[in-house]
Structures are given as C-alpha cells and as structure tokens.
C-alpha cells in the first residue's frame, strides 16, 4: 500500500484539515467531532442541507458545501458512516429555524446514524426531513433486503435540492424535490481495480489482470459479478442498459448524463465512456440536455467509473443550472 498519508488513523482528520485550509473562504471546518459547515451558515430563513457518509469518496460530501448546495457535510472514518455526535452539531449549526434536510445514502450504517441524529435534533426543536438516496440498479430492491445503495445520484440530489433551498423553498418542498430527483435517477458502476482502505492495508478485493467487477458500489465492496475485461464501449453498454431500462427512459426524454470516475481512472477515459453513452442515448431518441464528467463521487484510488442518468423536467433543469459555489462544483457565481 503506497499512499500520500501519514498515520493511517489520521487520514480523515488531516485531509479535512487541509481541505479547511484550502477553502477557508467557503467553509468552516470543525474537528473532534469532524464536520464542515458553509461559511455563512445558518443562512437566515433558508432550509439547511446536511449530508455525510464515510470518507474516501472525495470530493463528496465536503466538496459540495457552499452556496447553492450543502450547508454542512459530515465525514465519517474511511468508508464508515459518521456518528450522531457529528451529525447533530452539524444539523444544529445550519438550522436557521426553517428546518434541516438530511440527505442520506441508503446504507444501514448511514441510515441508522442519521436517524439517531435526527431524533436528537428534533428533541432540540429542529425540524428534520430525510431524503434517502438509493439509485444503484446493481442491487436488488426489496423490502426484505437493505435495498439499493445510494451512489452517483447523490451528487445530483445534493445539487438540485441545494438550489431549491437556496431559492427559498420550504422544508417540505426541499425534501420533495430531493425525493423527486432520487425517483428519477439510476446508476451503475464498474471497477477495473480494487481500492485499498488505509487502515486495512490490502486491496478490498482481488481482480486478475483481465477481469473487471460489474455492479460495484463506492466502498470497495465487490460487485454483482466478475467478467473478463472488455473494451470501453462494451463496458459502457453493460452499465447504461440496466440504468436506462430500470429508469424507463424513452424517446423524447431529456436527461442529465453523468459519467463519474472512481478516483484512479484518467479523465480522458471517462470521456471515451461518455462518448459511447451519449451515442447510445441519442440512438434511442433521448436528448442529453445536461452532462457531468469527472471524479465527483469516488472510491479512493479505485479505477473504474459509474454511469448515472437523471430524467429531467423543467424545474430540475432550472435548479441544476442555478448558481453553485462550492470547492468541487461551481458555476453562475
């Protein structure tokens, strides 16, 4: 394991500290417990948006704290959801009285820890709504399982719900638009190599030189199945097909196409994937009205990518286009 780190146990603390130093104009970083708050929080009259999860997915979530997106982010240990004693003060810090929305990726740990924090916050008089993100079509969705994971769609939920909060939407309205994004977004990912969790020191799974994992999540967990290496167009089809069919995208639809790098894949390769995905969608009569290509929700240094498709309506498009000013996503400001 070769990493640009000091003590493996200090990785999150030191990284978050560096993040705070680099973006002191946008965020305030609290240590022990760790959480990251928008510089001017709480914004009077505005619904607060809090997200968080295990670290190792940077720029998610800290990179999305700022105007038009999150009010706070709560980083857990690497691939481990944060704890209520981090989520609670973050929630209190961004509550202006208009209430707080928790954006939670659907993992048992994230759900339970945010649930506890929400209860505690409510006990302190803060109204909390939770938007659960579960967009990963690689996972079976059933009442009798943990359900689908939250992956790439999370970034889009945070941006669009963030814009709704910024324009002054009510607590319920912000939560509703977050839910609407989640209902209209699907993702699927592939790993070409595994990542290594710093405290574990060995790769999360073993892949042969000519094997890839289809349907991986963002925590270095293995995927649904393993297949021999294919070319970019073939892999793209394997990811895009289930996304498109599960979402039921049809000719005439407008979509946002998001090709996300898992952290160790060059941007140039993501554009090769984007090219194929855009061609396939065009062939189906689907209009790619907006796009996002890059490392936005990663899995440490894993090589691979995920494809996310969001079916847009006019309001979501408008909110996507609205100004955003965060360390990792910025436009219109």
């Amino acid at each position: 394991m070769k990493k640009l780190i000091n003590d493996p146990r200090a990785v999150v603390d030191e990284s978050v500290e560096g993040f705070g130093l680099a973006h002191a104009d946008l965020v305030t970083v609290f240590a022990d417990p760790n959480y990251i708050v928008r510089k001017d929080a709480p914004v009077a009259g505005k619904v607060g948006l809090v997200s968080g999860g295990g670290s190792g997915h940077e720029p998610l979530h800290g990179g999305y704290v700022g105007v038009g997106m999150l009010d706070a982010a709560v980083p857990g240990a690497v691939f481990t959801s944060p704890t209520p004693d981090q989520i609670l003060p973050a929630t209190l810090a961004v509550n202006s009285g208009a209430g707080v929305v928790h954006i939670v990726k659907n993992y048992t740990g994230d759900v339970l820890n945010f649930e506890t924090a929400a209860e505690l916050a409510q006990a302190e008089g803060v109204e909390v709504r939770t938007v659960l993100v579960n967009d990963d079509v690689a996972v079976q969705d059933s009442l009798y399982t943990a359900g689908r994971r939250g992956v790439g769609g999370t970034v889009l939920v945070e941006k669009i719900a963030g814009a709704a909060a910024e324009r002054g939407d009510s607590l319920d309205a912000v939560a509703a638009i977050g839910d609407r994004v989640n209902q209209n977004v699907r993702s699927m990912g592939v790993a070409l190599t595994a990542c290594t969790v710093p405290h574990a020191g060995v790769p999360s799974f073993e892949l042969e030189e000519n094997e890839i994992e289809i349907g991986i999540g963002i925590h270095g967990e293995p995927g649904r199945h393993r297949i021999p290496m294919e070319n970019a167009d073939g892999i793209t089809d394997r990811l895009l097909d289930p996304v498109v069919s599960d979402l039921g995208v049809a000719s005439g639809d407008q979509v946002l196409l998001f090709v996300n790098g898992m952290g160790g894949t060059p941007l140039s390769e993501l554009y090769i994937v984007y090219r194929r995905a855009a061609q396939v969608l065009a062939g189906k009569g689907v209009t790619v009205a907006r796009s996002l290509v890059g490392n936005y929700i990663t899995s440490l240094e894993m090589q691979g990518c995920s494809i996310t498709v969001l079916r847009l309506d006019e309001e979501m498009t408008e909110l996507w286009d609205a100004p955003v000013h965060t360390p990792a996503l910025r436009w219109g400001v």
Partner: protein, 211 residues
Amino acid sequence: MGLDVNWAVRWLTRSAQAMADHRVELIDLDRPIGDSDHGENMDRGFRAVMDKLAESPPETPAAALKLTAMTLMSKVGGAAGPLYGTAFLRASTALGDLADVDAATLVAALRAARDGIVARGKAETGDKTMVDAWTPAVEAAAAAAGDGGDGDVHTVLLAAAEAAEAGAVSTDPMLARKGRASYLGERSIGHRDPGAVSSALILRAAAGAAE
C-alpha cells in the same frame, strides 16, 4: 456470586483487548462481503470506551454499560455503532441501579440487547447478521439460568458465549439479506458475518470476566 461493577469493567476491558487482538481478523472477514472496516471500527470504539472508563469510573454495572453505549454510538459509526450502541443502552436500562446482577436480570439484559439490535436493524434470524449470534446466545442463557432464573451467572455467560460462537459459524452458508453483505446476493454465501463474530467475542469476554 453476582456480577458487580468490577465485573462490568473487566468485561469491557477484555472486550477492548479482544477487538485489538482480532482487529485484522474482523477486517479480513469484512473484506469479501463488506467494506473492510469492521475490525477498525470496533477497535476504535472500544479504545474510546477504555479512555472513558478511565476518565469517569462508573459506579454500577448499568452505568458502565451506558457509558459504553454512548461511546460506541459516537465513535464506531457504520452499522455496528448504532446497533451495539442500542444493545448496550437497552441492557443498561434492564439492569436498573442494581449493584449486583443475578442470572435472571442478566438474561433479561441480554434479551433487551438482542431486541434492541433487532428493533434498530430489522434483521431476522437467518439474515446473516449479528442477530444470528445474539438470538441463540439469549436462548442458551435463558436455558442455563433455569426456569426460576437462579442459575450461576458464570454458567449463563458461558452458555451465551458458546451459543454465540456457534451462531457466528452458522452464518457461513447463509445468504445475506441485511447489511452490506446483502448487496452481494448469492456471492455472500460461504463467508462468515463479521458482526456475528465480534458479538461472540464480546460475549466470550463477558464470561471470561466472570470467572
């Protein structure tokens, strides 16, 4: 002999030692069907418990368990943090302010812990989670305590630990339906659940502390 606060502290100390000793093993169990962090999470949590115990020594068994609950809740994270946090919190409540815990109360506390895990995690027996260690442990403890609940506490804890260990082994052939392993579907079969193993370690520590 009942179980007093010294037993509780010995239990937590032995648990912390077990998590440190089995840290890598628990990480390795979490790798193929999870995200390689269970051992790190539990070790971090119980090291924090040791710090807290040193800072503010508890006066009753219930206080020791409550301190443990709060610390695990705030230091472990992931699925295990809230689940173990709830387990210790419910067990603490079940103990009330007793200075000495008898077999009947012990069984009630173990049952409260298990029920807490089920209430939070919604897992059933056979879902390949820590519940598969706790449920047989509670049943074995109840049997060992006898109908009148007047059995020997050490015997009760030994029965619980052994049943939990067997329960952990029993997760090997299960197909996971809760937690992170459920994402793997069929591929989760043939692996032991890390949370069931850490649960067995904790119950074995409880028995050891009562020797």
